[in-house]
Subunit: 339 residues, 2 copies
Amino acid sequence: MTKVSIKQIAELSGVSVATVSRVINNNGRFSEATRKKVLQAIEETGYQTNYVAKSLRMQKSNTIGILVPDITNYFFARTVQHIEETLFEHGYSTIICNTDRSLEKEKAYLEMLKAKMIDGLIVISGIKEFDLVDYSSMNIPVVCIDRKPTGKASSVFIASNHYEGAYLATKHLLEKGVKSPVILMQNRESSSSSERLKGFKAGLKEAGMPFRTDTNLLVVDSRKNVLRVEEKTRQLFLKAFSKLETCDGIFSINDDLAILALDCLKELGIAVPDQVKLIGFDDTLLSRHTSPKLSSVAQDTLKLAETTCENLLSLIQNPSLAVSKQQLVPVHLVERETT
Amino acid sequence: MTKVSIKQIAELSGVSVATVSRVINNNGRFSEATRKKVLQAIEETGYQTNYVAKSLRMQKSNTIGILVPDITNYFFARTVQHIEETLFEHGYSTIICNTDRSLEKEKAYLEMLKAKMIDGLIVISGIKEFDLVDYSSMNIPVVCIDRKPTGKASSVFIASNHYEGAYLATKHLLEKGVKSPVILMQNRESSSSSERLKGFKAGLKEAGMPFRTDTNLLVVDSRKNVLRVEEKTRQLFLKAFSKLETCDGIFSINDDLAILALDCLKELGIAVPDQVKLIGFDDTLLSRHTSPKLSSVAQDTLKLAETTCENLLSLIQNPSLAVSKQQLVPVHLVERETT
């Protein structure tokens, strides 16, 4: 006796797998005619119902939870938007939780999602060192984006190739004649920012330049979005920038920080790109509308979202396939007027 | 006869309050023995069951659902972020659902939220004519933001004073010497855009100017964010703008559209603010970083969020207080370089 798969039920009833799943879970988005066809196919395979039910029990709520550090961040919002679209096409609803880069909130939302019996979880953690132990107790598939989990629990990790992006940006600055490049960072650590720092150092090394924290690194003191800072903080930034006497090129770890830099340089009377070249990271909407227009490294949010969904859906179908793996999504350089 | 509380049911059956709640809601995470004990305790108190069920309905999940049309829209994202923060302080988790301005998705997420037994719902509908009938069947408090519901169900509606904002912006243009103002809109209707159009007309009327659709109105054909349009659409926009021969001032219904206008005017060789003055709406992050910097009407997202949460929390405490009401949150003009 062979076991009937949901795919076979779908074939028998002439509808998609997602539709079969919706009918059995009775969530409402199908016609009465479809329901009858699917139920008939299930009846025809009689003794197999339990198997179907069991395989479905693992996806019974048709909801996926996603933890996101900051929905006002364009990169995160776009990625989440693509994920929601992809999952909806597959018959899943997405529960979005904004965790505000707070460990307390991540834990609270995790508890909430547990109670809501989600079928899978996507984590974009806002915490530098986050461990999957908390998540593994949920016994559902977890895919991490952008922030690499520590600890020993097996995990799927999807991220842009931040290292390569930073390396490309640095190389681009050097090719444009920059002699004394600076990496501009926020004092907010994450695996993506460490990777970008490594890429910057690799670019310098390749050009035979040593990396010196006193001349090649500028860290601004803000954990929040720098474009929302108040005047007092802005003055501190201005002061920091005015110290960069020898600098003729800036690789900013994100576009928001690059736009802040552009504003400060303008205010200090330093011409971009003539005196200082500038490149950001993320290719946000803003980068296309500054003056001069900002060069940047583009992350492929659509590809990130698709890769994440593919991995998660496949784990929901076959939890036994769970192994630790890492998939990097390529980035590309977008040259505009600031370089 | 005193009413039985869920706490007493818990004590009677020797389990926790949470377990009683799980049994009554039948969500599956309890043993058959536990179920029997709880049901016995409920039976022993017979006539009170309804009261228990009702009191549970009112406080059972500590979660609030929120429907948002587009999380990549800065105004929506900021409002939702403030709401999440406020609710979290009050012990509530927020389930964010991105509905993509789609009626199908609004309905699907509503079903999902019903199944997750939320305690309250916040709706920012992406549909022009949305009715609260669907929502009222959930029997939980609902507060609508920004998009006014149609139909007869009683509702709480919180919004920025879009009318006043548009009126202020128009008056500002006229005070700056504009003789032939144009309102720039997208073909995406909502109660907020109709209010803004009314405010624009009121400003014209006060100055003794008739409103003419051929000279005072420009509608661009894009339902999506205009800053993400492709080159082909952009060319259509350019063509539309080149027709505005007499126009010397533009009130754009949102900042994104204003930034698109700024780009097109630059490309057409029209100087802002010298030849055409320009003002947006929303005071997004981008408006502070364009060149010249964009004047705009600022919505008070924090106040909107606080007013929404106050109303919702008070209705959760006292559902009997439910009446239809509307609260408008003041906006203010931010003058920058484009006017």
